[in-house]
């Protein structure tokens, strides 16, 4: 999930463009001979895939525990050079965005609920509003 639009598509797009297999939301990665076993976090639980290498993986937060920054490294961080490379230098053209944001809106405000007298009334209401 990219830090700007949270779209969860970069890894997947890359895999499609390269025609490589993909293992996204990886919470465990084990290398095997010429392949990688990826445990993925999915809505229903965990899914384990075996992908032939080369493959594209994206990490879930459960994959690793980030290290603590050390005091010397914090101090060195300020002095590290920040190199700016223009896209043209890498032989990449068309750096302008191809996504256009049309509209951003909040989800509708949550409307108040309604108390009903009996279970039958509840079922009737649910059926009426098309929920069941």
């Amino acid at each position: 999930q990219a830090i700007d639009d949270d779209c969860n598509q970069t890894g997947q797009l890359l895999a499609a463009m390269l025609d490589w297999p993909q293992g996204t939301f990886a919470s465990r990665v084990e290398l095997e001979d010429g392949a990688v076993r990826v445990q993925r976090e999915v809505d229903g639980g965990l899914e384990t895939l075996r992908l032939r290498l080369p493959a594209v993986l994206t990490a879930d937060l459960r994959l690793n525990e980030p290290r603590y920054a050390t005091l010397p490294n914090i101090m060195k961080a300020k002095k590290k050079p920040l190199e700016v490379i223009p896209a043209a230098d890498l032989g990449v053209s068309g750096g302008s965005p191809r996504l256009k944001v049309l509209q951003v809106q909040e989800p509708p405000a949550r409307a108040g609920g309604e108390k009903v007298e009996s279970v039958e009334a509840l079922v009737e209401k649910l059926r009426q509003s098309g929920r069941i």
Binding site: Y68, A69, T70, L71, P72, I74, M75, A77, K78
Partner: protein
């Protein structure tokens, strides 16, 4: 985190994270079982917390006294007793770094900065606490060794640590006859008393350190003969800021605990936090904590800038912060009601752990002596 630089906020963040994840979940167990958390401290040393204000060429982090205060305050929110020991360790390494010659610095400091080895500071004796200059442990010169006889009391880490920075008498009476020697566990004639049972500071063992014709090479002396007392006093300036910083951390954690409890606990049909008396009390606690913190940080700045009045400021800060913070932690315990008295709740451990900060590194009475002397002679 008011008034801190970007770097200092980063240090604080690492220390707070470390305290919350690696120390806070264990502080009660360390206290109850009297565990000296060697592995956890080594993890802290890997982040650079083993020699915070020691020069980098021997493994230290080369940070300032203010940076150090911020770090110890943050670590103390996780476990005050362990952080206090770490501050003593740091002071010992600094002494060797600052007053040792190149050979001594390179011999001792690297393994201390990484906490492969641990250090203890030996000044106090059964007969000389506040009157430190009257210490009796004698070091008689014999060829190229010193023969030590005497004992030290209340030594934090004593018996479990590897390196001992010992103040002893090589010359005549009074401060000018005192020198500083570095001893190592295993030296013949070096032994330890029983482990003391304490009200708090239980994650660090406290023992007497005994010297019986203990042979120490002359090459282990830091600085010149007769320089020991000056080394001790300079070390204590920083030590006082460090201990005061540990008190700040404990008070900070206690205020947060009290705040949480006041919003959750209900009596007479409403949360305790709805009572004006408790609101006012909490406000006073927070105000005093901030005042104490500013005093400590101001003293740290004065020390690192080499200001003439640094020693007095350090004494004032130690006096004020340790007293105020004990009051704050005690108030926080009171706000917890009966629950505050149970060991299941952390607030009582903060109270017990910082009580001793009003006594060691120079009693708060001695702090008053130092300030008064400065006011009346200056």
């Amino acid at each position: 985190s008011t008034g801190l630089t970007e770097d200092q906020k980063e240090f604080q963040k690492v220390a707070l994270d470390f305290a919350a994840k690696e120390m806070a979940p264990y502080m009660a167990e360390w206290d109850e079982k009297e565990i000296f958390p060697v592995e956890t401290m080594r993890k802290a040393a890997q982040l650079g917390f083993g020699g915070i204000y020691v020069k980098p060429d021997v493994g230290g982090s080369g940070l300032s006294r203010l940076d150090t205060s911020i770090i110890f305050e943050a670590l103390s929110t996780g476990c005050t007793s362990t952080t206090a020991y770490m501050s003593i360790h740091n002071m010992c390494v600094w002494m060797i770094d600052t007053f040792g010659n190149e050979e001594q610095r390179h011999r001792f400091c690297p393994s201390l900065c990484s906490m492969e080895k641990f250090a203890s500071y030996c000044l106090t004796e059964p007969g000389s606490g506040s009157d430190a200059a009257s210490l009796l442990t004698s070091a008689q010169r014999k060829g190229d060794t010193y023969i030590l006889n005497g004992s030290k009391a209340f030594i934090s880490g004593g018996g479990d640590t590897d390196v001992y920075v010992v103040m002893c008498r090589t010359g005549g009476p009074g401060p000018k006859g005192i020198s500083c020697l570095v001893l190592e566990k295993g030296m013949p004639g070096l032994s330890f008393g029983k482990k003391e049972k304490k009200v708090g500071w239980n994650s660090q063992p406290t023992r007497a350190v005994i010297f019986e014709d203990c042979v120490v090479p002359v090459g282990n002396r830091l600085g010149a003969e007769g320089q020991g007392f000056s080394i001790a006093m300079q070390g204590l300036n920083g030590g006082r800021i460090n201990i005061a910083s540990c008190s700040l951390g404990a008070a900070h954690a206690s205020v947060l605990l009290a705040q949480e409890h006041l919003t959750v606990r209900k009596q007479f049909g409403e949360p305790l936090a709805n009572n004006q008396y408790l609101q006012f009390r909490l406000a006073e606690m927070a105000t005093r904590l901030l005042a104490a913190r500013l005093m400590v940080r101001n003293a740290a700045r004065a020390l690192q800038d080499g200001r003439e009045d640094a020693a007095v400021l350090c004494s004032m800060a130690k006096l004020f912060a340790t007293d105020e913070c004990f009051g704050i932690c005690n108030q926080a315990l009171q706000m917890h009601g009966g629950y505050g008295y149970l060991k299941d709740y952390a607030v009582q451990q903060f109270v017990r752990d910082i009580r001793v900060h009003q006594i060691l590194e120079g009693t708060n009475e001695v702090m008053r002596m130092i300030v008064a002397r400065n006011l009346l002679q200056g």
